[in-house]
Symmetry: C2
Subunit: 566 residues, 2 copies
């Protein structure tokens, strides 16, 4: 917000509305330029800073996400401590410390004090953060609510220091102050510790609060040890449940099928290769010289010996079209890191203790032609699954993207949309909003198309929604088998009960007629009936285990299913 020129204003505090037509020259006198930080200062809700509880959760989310990414990239099992202290009315300090690689002194300013600068934005690699906005967004939010810089303390193993970081908002430039060199010997390990001070925020133990966020983060990151020191002085420990590192994230060369014309042009212009042909082989995954020969046949008019920088838009368009006509090996999917079936099962059992569950990890797919992604889905039914509401129980959805819990903006998320599009009646769920069912979905990709800068919802792209639907339907099919066998079971149980009611009378009648011992007749009748209904007396937990294994070919069925739905 800027004030108008004084001469335009009247005493009452607003600009006079001229009654005549205003010319373009008059209007454009007020033309100004703004930095991206000014933009986010004015629209901080777009970064997730809307609502007191949500804002505090967003701060923790940004710092913890950065810590997990840093540890994963450095190959370190994460030890993360989150400390939230109440320092005034609706004022809190948040400290997040990790045992990651730390940040070199030369980079601390840009890392925490200016947006769109970082190591993540330009790399084709699966990470939780992908924009270079989160950490500096926290600094911005601290600055506009308490006027205080954030305090950083880092040890990279080569150098250790502490300092204050703030942002020159008008220019999106970092300001580093009070830099103090520290002895490395003072630290137990490398790592980063960031402390920020925030006002207009609130710590609350709700579905959208810090505790719930960390709980879900621990569930989807079993290799991390996370400790929360809450404002009331209590400490919550989320211990590590797996001692091995998840797959190291790797940068991928792009797959030709994922290329649009504009990106191909950018790559070509930036390429050091001398010829178009070697540029293609060097820059893309799956393009070999044999494949280049195939491309040559498809675009005979294109000179593959020309410098890549001389490629025209029309030529690039033809090349992208020809990419679609060649048979390629699928994108290298090895670089995608998932939570894992076993771990999702453990997690769901731990928090939901359901009567039945099933988990599906789909094979990786691509969207927008060639960006690889993979969906994991789980369904839990009964126990503590679903949400308690004033009128009973409702189904709910636990959303994750690259193992990060998504707590907000569910209404505009591809995961929610996919779950809503499913015809739940076909899976034995009469009304999703009235049954004790939880759907767990994690989408992993080198690029998650978030719908907003706050990264709380996945954009509703058709290919992603369809793949999520297939995954959830596959899990739902097993649930349906369970529910129908449960229903069978309860019908059988009621028949069994009815028959057993007659056994006593029938036994004594038969004893009268046959002059045999009544109790023997009763015993053998009971045995007869019990053997007919023997499935009722088996351990039901075994059964659901079997079912979870059964669904080998459920994939294709679900596939056909989805087509029927479209």
């Amino acid at each position: 917000m800027q004030l108008e020129d004084k001469q335009n204003q009247n005493g009452d505090g607003h600009v006079e509305a001229a009654s005549r037509v205003r010319s373009a020259d008059e209007i454009f006198k007020e033309f100004k330029e703004h930095s991206v930080t000014e933009f986010f200062k004015k629209n901080s809700q777009m970064l997730g800073y809307a609502g007191k509880v949500r804002s505090l959760t967003t701060v923790v989310h940004e710092y913890v996400t950065n810590s997990l990414d840093a540890c994963e990239e450095a190959g370190i099992l994460p030890e993360i401590t989150v400390t939230v202290k109440e320092i005034g009315e609706e004022k809190y300090s948040v400290t997040v410390s990790d045992n990651g690689p730390g940040i070199p002194k030369a980079h601390i300013g840009k890392a925490l004090g200016s947006v769109l600068k970082g190591t993540k934005f330009h790399r084709n690699m699966q990470q939780r953060g992908q924009q270079g906005i989160g950490g500096s967004g926290c600094t911005l939010f601290a600055q506009i609510t308490t006027g205080k810089p954030v305090h950083a303390k880092s040890n990279t193993g080569k150098e250790a220091y502490e300092c204050d970081v703030s942002i020159d908002i008008r220019d999106n430039k970092p300001i580093v102050a009070n830099m103090v060199q520290l002895p490395i010997s003072q630290f137990k390990s490398t790592g980063l510790e960031v402390t920020g001070f925030f006002a207009g925020v609130k710590y609350e133990n709700s579905d959208h609060g810090v505790y719930e966020y960390l709980r879900r983060t621990a569930l989807s990151n079993p290799h991390a040890h996370i400790v929360l020191h809450a404002p009331d002085g209590s400490t919550v420990d989320f211990p590590r449940s797996v001692d091995s590192m998840p797959k190291r994230p790797r940068a991928l060369k792009p797959h030709p099928l994922g290329m649009n014309v504009s990106d191909l042009m950018d790559f070509a212009k930036a390429s050091p290769s001398r010829k178009l042909s070697s540029f293609l082989v060097d820059s893309f995954s799956r393009i070999t010289y044999d494949k280049v020969d195939e491309l040559k046949k498809l675009v005979p008019e294109l000179d593959f010996n020309k410098a890549p920088g001389e490629l025209t838009w029309e030529e690039a368009e033809k090349l992208v079209d020809s990419f679609k006509k060649v048979k390629w090996l699928a994108p290298d999917l090895d670089a995608l890191s998932t939570i894992g079936e076993k771990q999702i099962e453990l997690a769901m059992r731990k928090i939901l203790n359901p009567e039945f569950m099933s988990v599906v990890e789909r094979r990786p797919k691509v969207f927008r032609g060639g960006i690889p992604f993979v969906v994991e889905a789980g369904i839990a039914y009964g126990g503590s699954a679903g949400t308690r509401t004033s009128t009973g129980t409702s189904g709910n959805v636990l959303r994750f993207a690259n193992k990060v819990p998504l707590l907000f903006d569910g209404g505009s998320c591809a995961i929610t949309e996919a779950v809503q599009e499913i015809d739940w009646k076909r899976y034995g769920i009469k009304n999703f909003d009235e049954e004790p069912v939880s759907v767990f979905v994690n989408v992993s990709s080198v690029y998650i198309p978030y719908s907003g800068v706050g990264k709380q919802a996945i954009a509703q792209e058709e290919e992603i929604i369809d793949e999520i639907k297939l995954a959830v339907m596959e899990a739902a099919r097993r649930l349906q088998m369970h529910l129908s066998s449960e229903r069978n079971r309860s019908e059988q149980a009621s028949r069994y009960k009815t028959i057993m009611r007659y056994v006593e009378q029938l036994s004594s009648d038969l004893a009268d007629i046959t002059s045999k011992n009544k109790s023997e007749i009763q015993k053998s009748l009971t045995q007869l009936i019990e053997s007919k209904y023997k499935s009722l007396f088996e351990d039901s937990s075994k059964e659901s285990g079997q079912e979870a294994d059964v669904a080998g070919s459920a994939g294709e069925e679900a596939e056909a299913d989805a087509n029927a739905n479209n």
Copy 2:
């Protein structure tokens, strides 16, 4: 997306995953800076470019919004023509021309070729656009899908020209090419015409398509004449239904209650005033020297004679606290421009032809302490209200912000949330999702807190949700009266029918007993019954008219209601 250094890559096309721990220095070698245009190029879905149909609608939305704003600011009744042509497979050109003030030659590049530059971002004024992103976002989208610049043609009355505009994405700088001076005499009026070429988009007559967008825009902007030339060659004319201009938007000085510490500091630093006291009087609406005296008593330790630039954060904090303790005149609300009760009624009648409707314009309120906003709400029931679904009819919500229809991201919008939070049963709607009801809401403000850059949803701020609820509940209360009188009516009608069934038999029995003429008895009985149920024979359309007028004091009741709900 950038490629990694070659030496890090193996032949298979991806970077080798080192198994050892990587140091901070290694990781931060890859640190890079990015422009805001690079960011939006990678995340174009955040600007609304997700989905083929939606992307095309977003283009039209951005251009038409700019045209309406330009005309409104210049005081010109808008004539807007939108032409969409199919130029290839999933390729379209979009041309939007208006009779606005045009854009001076010196500004055309920045207006259409770089983001965060414009006349709107910094002004405290109600406009449809508020960020300086929309128009350049279209240029960016054109560029990354077809590689073509947009073509602009402008006449400001002083100069006329045409040219091509594109963006240097790496630097967020405009590129203006092929500039041609044109004779002003060639134009019928001042104005701007922009043409862009887009691929990967689709024209469709759906709820999210261009036609529906323009239809709703015409409804909420009755002073605009809009013509659509559709790709199939057809022309749709949305004629102007009001010949007067809406209130001219005005820039407002900020109200002290709307100030946070950070903004106050910024204003103080930029102020040319010599003393803090005169700075306060000059910069804010409703602060007089009398009020400054009150503030002095509340913050006795603060020197009101010091230069505003010397204000510290702590002092500013105290000042903002003291603002809250003084009684202020409400913010000047005259600058807010609404659609208007009458016009919403006309609009709903025209499109929904409902059996009943009621419209409420609330008095303006403030959010975040002092940002003025006003809510208009309407409810239509029966007729074509609601949405037809495969299983019947469902309630729907028509959302508008500053008279701009919001077609997307309803799930994360304050308007949707408010409608969902209402206990519809109390208003005679058993299940909102199963009745023919449409809720119309328009929120007007100098600053709409959109949840995303694409401006399709209003952030779920409590104060805004609460006010929308009050408005909708006020309208719903009238609907309830209508529905219960309708239900009364139908109960009476059924009783009437039942009684009439006995008239014939009773008349002949009475005739037998009393020896009187049966037909006379029947006639007088019928008269007797009809007079008792006379309300059934009155004109029902009158009745709903009366009801719409009745609800004078419904406001307070609704107010009490909302509290009960919280």
